[in-house]
């Protein structure tokens, strides 16, 4: 077995950058430089990992050389590897943006190392093959997000952070309880082994497994922000600096969705009724999220509610694993993966762009800004791309994501959820159009208080990452085949967990006679 450093690097690179940055805590400039290096290294490592997974299948490594299932396993399948790559992309984009966006005060208080720790935690969550370690990774990324959210101590931030912290801690407590019970039942924490053992338990005590799955569902449902557990998100995401919002908006809820996918495809055996249940949750999430957005007139709040709504589409894709048809299961999961990747890029970018818009227009309140289309045509274009993509305008990335989800939904005969998806899609168009007509088309109101013009280098630094993400959106839109192919293969891997289990190697290292034949779906 290879020593598997490539699987660890996406976690270690930013963590090391953070530690080094903290050693230089008096020198924010060094921290910023280390931030760029760390995020860049994470991206590079992620790409290398993805390539290796594509070439050789699931990559697993046993930390400390302790054999599975005893030591902690890190394992990268296609889903994990893709998520890590996207994490690197967003990390790098946000770090570059932060160079121009974040004030000296926050920089002096370790802003850049905090971002690095967040990225490390996110990568760890995507790669770990151990359920308790997943909890730890969640805590790492949560703690980083707590501090980032509260950093600066402005009034709005404080109240938002309190809600965010409290509800996420409740989620963590539920998750922890679930892990403890899982260990009690199976005597294992290794996800590959849990796959085998919970399958056996489900045969004799299906209700117990279902109840346990319920705990995990609520815990991850809070983090993923599904109906009706999403309330912390719109209460907090609009409060910190926009770079932080972008980071959280892009990545964090998707970690929750990832965990739901991972747990429901790998850890738990197929459970009766889960598909229907998730379809209902997905529909309500899409609809209620978008309703919140329709009611808002502040850019960041609108965008925050849309995160919720879009999570519904991802859950919808996941819900289709409850279908009887293998083709529908694969299509649904592939759609979910595609949607996640698309959404991370687009949503982070929308926050970045809205930050530039507020910098030029003087406010996030739509009533107080205007005339940006004439004042900054380049920004108008920069906004239209991610906004159009979010609204599903072809041929941008969001169109393909929506097409894939709706197609899978129709194939799975999930009529009501498809109807909800299309209805929410229309209201998403309305929201994006609202921002567009108000901030860009409408003449600037008399009450507008445009700030003094920003330096050119600053605007360039703000626009560059946004431009990069927009280019990705367009590239995926025009040439979606590679990404969809990746998503499809990732879905196939998820639906055949025996690959993952074999790569981790629990079946050979451990006598699991009782688990034989229970591997597949």
């Amino acid at each position: 077995m290879s020593s598997g450093w490539i699987v660890l690097l996406p976690l270690l690179a930013p963590l090391a950058a953070a530690a080094a940055g903290l050693l230089a805590w008096r020198a924010p400039r060094i921290q910023a430089a280390l931030g760029i290096v760390g995020a860049g290294a994470q991206l590079a490592a992620g790409l290398g990992l993805l390539q290796q997974v594509l070439r050789e299948g699931v990559q697993a490594v046993q930390l400390g050389s302790w054999p599975a299932p005893f030591g902690i396993t890190f394992a990268a399948d296609l889903l994990g590897a893709v998520m890590v790559v996207v994490t690197g992309v967003i990390g790098l984009a946000v770090t570059v943006y932060s160079l121009a966006d974040i004030d000296p005060g926050r920089r002096a208080f370790a802003y850049f190392p905090l971002v690095q720790v967040l990225l490390a935690g996110v990568a760890g969550a995507f790669l770990t093959g151990d359920i308790f370690n997943l909890y730890v990774c969640f805590e790492v990324l949560l703690m980083a997000s707590f501090v980032l959210l509260a950093l600066g101590g402005e009034r709005a931030q404080m109240a938002g952070a309190l809600t965010y912290v409290t509800l996420n801690l409740v989620s963590s407590a539920l998750f922890l309880a679930g892990v403890g019970l899982t260990y009690g039942i199976t005597r294992s924490l290794n996800m590959a082994e849990l796959h085998l053992r919970l399958g056996v338990v489900a045969e004799s005590r299906p209700e117990l497994v279902l109840a346990l799955a319920g705990l995990f569902f609520v815990a991850f449902g809070i983090k993923a922000a599904v109906f009706p557990l999403y309330t912390w998100l719109p209460a907090s995401y609009h409060t910190p600096p926009v770079a932080v919002s972008a980071l959280l908006a892009g990545l964090l809820t998707k970690v929750g969705v990832y965990a739901l996918i991972r747990v429901l495809t790998l850890v738990f055996p197929p459970l009766p009724g889960v598909g229907t249940f998730l379809l209902a949750v997905a529909s309500l999430t899409m609809v209620f999220g978008v309703l919140g957005a329709v009611a808002m007139f502040e850019t960041r709040r609108i965008l925050s509610f849309h995160i919720v709504s879009q999570i519904g589409y991802m859950v919808m894709g996941l819900a289709l694993v409850g279908s009887d048809s293998p083709a529908v299961r694969a299509a649904g999961l592939a759609a979910a993966v595609l949607y996640i990747v698309h959404h991370i890029i687009v949503k982070a970018n929308l926050f970045l762009v809205s930050g530039i818009a507020a910098r030029l227009g003087g406010s996030f309140q739509l009533a107080r800004v205007g005339g940006l289309a004439a004042a900054a045509p380049w920004l108008a274009l920069l906004f239209l791309i991610p906004a159009g993509s979010l609204a599903g305008v072809p041929p941008l990335s969001g169109f393909w994501a929506k097409l894939a989800v709706v197609r899978a939904g129709l194939a799975g005969e999930a009529w009501w959820t498809v109807a909800a998806a299309l209805g929410a899609g229309l209201l998403t168009v309305l929201s994006m159009v609202k921002i567009w007509t108000e901030a860009f088309w409408k003449p600037a109101p008399d009450t507008a208080t445009p700030p003094p013009p920003a330096a050119r280098w600053r605007l360039a630094l703000l626009a560059a990452p946004s431009l990069g993400l927009a280019a990705l959106t367009v590239a995926i839109g025009l040439y979606p085949r590679p990404l969809y192919e990746l998503a499809r293969r990732a879905a196939e891997q998820l639906l055949a967990p025996s690959n993952y289990v074999a790569a981790v190697g629990v079946a050979t290292a451990h006598d699991s006679a009782r688990g034989d034949g229970k591997g597949g779906q």
Binding site: A150, L176, L189
Partner: protein
Amino acid sequence: MELLLAVVVGGLYASGLYLMLRRSLVKLLLGLVLLGHAANLLIFSAGGVVRGEAPLVAPGEITPPPGAADPLPQALILTAIVIGFAVVSFAAVLARRVFEVTGTDDPAAMENGS
């Protein structure tokens, strides 16, 4: 004993959650702490309890005595206690700052404006 532990765990969850539902920052924190205790004890009981046989290797031996307690839940709980402590400390200071900034300790009274 398992029954007793179940009652304790249930009681801790109930009182912790009830405290969190009070509209008071301090009670929110107390509730969080109790929730952490509850989860730790839950893991402890789910892992199986053993009296008086700590998972230690006595000098001269190479394994702990047979029947020693399962060390893994203990390690998990230790990690969870420390993480919980760190998180609660941060939350406590945050709550204090929230009180300073908003002037109230009623979480429901601070509609986050802007």
